[in-house]
Symmetry: C2
Subunit: 469 residues, 2 copies
């Protein structure tokens, strides 16, 4: 199954080698911008990140580069038409905002001062998602250099949003506003990963995401737990009981109606999952966790790729400082996220959670529940011809057969699929140990450059083999 | 039942009226010292508070005033021997440390800048406990002035500790170290309250307190809830399930062995409780709460005075900031406090909680449980002659019959009872609306001065009527 190193491959690799240093320097410059969309005080940085990227894409050669304002953080749009007006149009999706990060969370170095250690680039956003957006810039240059073209073989559009780590609240409206300009035959999402450095894979689906914050209110102010304890409802106890009621004894989500409509895995899909070289001990090490735990009757891969979840992302209430404070707190909160799979409707899930929560609360406890805009789940047909192009381009770069996975995380890919009417493909080179959303996020430099190479092969393969509808 | 205003009463009241302004100025000076024992950065303030009080007691006339160092915060000791060597010796207990307080918790004014509004003095510590310690200073002066004595009718000792709000970790050792100097025929605890401004009462018992912090550890670092969610144990979920398991469906504490040995209320005690002019709606307003909630089969007064509890004082884990962060947190904690009633052994409760917690945790979750030193519960015999003196002194000051209550809060009174072998009496003038441990803590100035007056009558009554064993 190895692919011979033909002259096109050689030309691509030579070009990448020649430009590798400048490419990494440029990426480091971008990673230094702390574009944390969830934290309002970083809003100027998110704008700076968008401006930086637009300028870089202009320098790359995109004739059209624009920063698109939204009610939140700006997105970057770029377009490079193919010479051949009959060529397919491909829209690349990624994001330039990043998760919050602070040295005191456990980073070995400043999360916004990129550093290379052992051929890995450490920085917040190295893998999620700046590195994976950025490999397309050198990829398209290598594509042009290796083929002698002055424009890519497909019409290439980029839409790099600035609110993905904040659940993309304005993304759908942005896509709807610019539907005509974004029109594409396929969407390539570069915001996922692959199985491992040794096993290149293409992802065929992502889970969706519904998020909420539930605040419970008890006494109008903190009260003395001696004077009043035992005789009034405690909102911290109530929030704990609410969370405890989220799952039944089989670790299934116990919210009535939560599983309504979900597309269950077929036996064939379960077989494909089971055929992957999965080592649960190794996976647990990557998860930095000490035991598997989840829905009864499903394997770990099924649980993270194809089963919906309810997870606590944050819980709080009452005294947080050192020592003790004998109070009944006036309020408590929990931040919950629900991962959704194909067939689940986020609106239905929200209604179900609201109805369930209302029934859990004791008298005297008031609740406020705020849902963020949801991200829908999506699945790509395995036999789609554009997906086959991605598999071939990745196979050439990695010189290995490419297998299929799904992604447990979530992205607004489903909005693109729905609004643009285009199939969504996933091209990512991140590996599970990259530490997305965690301290010491990194990207493997060898894989980053394989991403560049895959991008360089993909556009020609698509133009040659696929005649979009 | 009204008491005629005799000449002694008249003399006491005149003296108090003449010295009221200076007394309140002095108290305000003390309240400006933020002696928060739970917060290490306030340790110098706690020391300053002790020095301030020792100097003030010297100025009051106590021939012996000392600051007693401990491994934690210092206590203040003062002694004023009676002229008559056969007079009883009374030890007054209080504390000069206060709960944490910050304007952003909801205070209408700086908690450490005392202010009088509508005849109430607002400041952290106004009622708990600086105000109630301080009324004895003017009380003993009024006693001397009204009786023409140069020394009090009883040998008066004061022990004002500096760690009561941190569970008095060094108090028992301090009392044991100074047992001979602290020797007393009775202990007067001025760190409780009375029923209401209209219904003066004497408290006959306090609940004890066992406190712990339970930390649960899951992944070694925060991990992505998309990549790993649904397949590993989440410590925030686990801490919630632990808290939810604390109580059964009847709001009884579900920790096996928790109720072992408790002295149940007699029918007569339940009758005495039921005879108090208790208005549940009014009580709920004082509790700033919106419904009663507690152990099935007990009234609200029984729940707060005579039943043990398990309350969450603080819970936390995962993302606490604005917006969302899709992580599974690496750890979560809960700060729990258990109020104990007569017959419960804190060591037994600790063992029971540890054994119970260990059984609740899923595989892959590790726990650390730290208990603070406990405070034992205590009860005073209703027919004790010194208690009758307190009732008479209070009745003279308030010109009303005095009834009996218990106190839901906790104090190290039981240690004094146990180590010194002396009965513990409670003399407090705080009312439930004073906001102990809450924002806008205050003391009613009229009641504070009734406290001064009660103190002024008490020493002579004790000397006249009680011949200590």
């Amino acid at each position: 199954m190895s692919h011979p190193v033909d002259s096109a491959v050689s030309a691509v690799r030579t070009y990448i080698e020649q430009h590798r240093a400048a490419f990494l320097d440029d990426l480091a410059g971008w990673l230094r911008i702390p574009s944390v969309s969830a934290q309002p005080d970083h809003a100027p940085d998110v704008r700076r990140s968008a401006d930086w990227l637009a300028a870089k894409l202009k320098e790359t050669g995109f004739p059209v580069t624009e920063v698109w304002q939204t009610p939140g953080a700006p997105a970057v749009y770029a377009e490079w038409p193919a010479d051949d007006p009959g060529a397919p149009t491909v829209l690349v999706y990624g994001h330039h905002d990043v998760q919050p990060a602070a040295v005191e969370d456990g980073w070995d170095s400043d999360p916004f001062e990129p550093v290379v250690r052992e051929n890995r680039l450490y920085a917040r956003g190295a893998a999620d998602d700046k590195g994976q957006v950025f490999f397309h810039t050198l990829g398209v240059r290598a594509h042009l250099a290796a083929t002698g073209r002055t424009a890519p073989a497909v019409t290439l559009k980029l839409l790099i949003e600035g609110e993905e780590e904040s659940s993309s609240p304005n993304f759908r409206a942005l896509v709807e506003e610019h539907t005509e300009r974004l029109a594409a035959d396929a969407v390539i999402v570069s915001d996922t990963g692959m199985w491992s450095a040794d096993t290149p894979t293409v992802c065929t689906g992502m889970r969706g995401l519904a998020e909420c914050e539930i605040r419970l209110f008890g006494p109008d102010q903190d009260i003395h737990s001696g004077s009043f304890g035992g005789a009034v409802p405690n909102p911290a106890t109530a929030v704990a009981r609410l969370v405890a009621a989220l799952h039944d004894e089989h670790a299934r989500v116990a919210v009535p109606g939560f599983y309504d409509g979900i597309v269950e895995l077929t036996d064939r899909e379960r077989e494909l999952f089971a055929e992957l070289p999965f080592d649960e001990d190794q996976w647990l090490r990557t998860a930095r966790s000490h035991a598997p735990h989840g829905e009864a009757g499903h394997t770990t891969l099924e649980r993270v790729w194809a089963r919906p979840t309810a997870e606590v992302n944050g819980i709080g209430g009452g005294y947080q400082g050192p020592g003790s404070k004998t109070i009944i707190p006036s309020s408590a909160f929990v931040k919950l996220s629900f991962r959704l799979v194909a067939g689940q409707d986020p609106d239905h899930v929200e209604k179900a959670v609201r109805a369930w929560a209302a029934e859990q609360l004791p008298a005297g406890i008031r609740s406020e529940i705020a849902f963020s805009p949801a991200t829908r789940p999506c699945l790509t047909p395995l036999d789609h011809p554009a997906l086959q192009s991605v598999v071939r381009a990745m196979g050439r770069a990695f010189e290995q057969p490419v297998r299929f996975t799904r992604e447990g995380g979530s992205g607004p890919a489903a909005d693109l699929q729905e609004v643009l009417g285009a199939p969504v493909l996933f091209l990512g080179i991140s590996v599970p140990s990259d530490g997305w959303h965690a301290p010491n996020e990194k990207v493997e430099l060898d894989l980053l450059l394989k991403g560049v190479e895959t991008s360089a092969y993909l556009w020609g393969d698509l133009a040659d083999t696929w005649h979009a509808p």
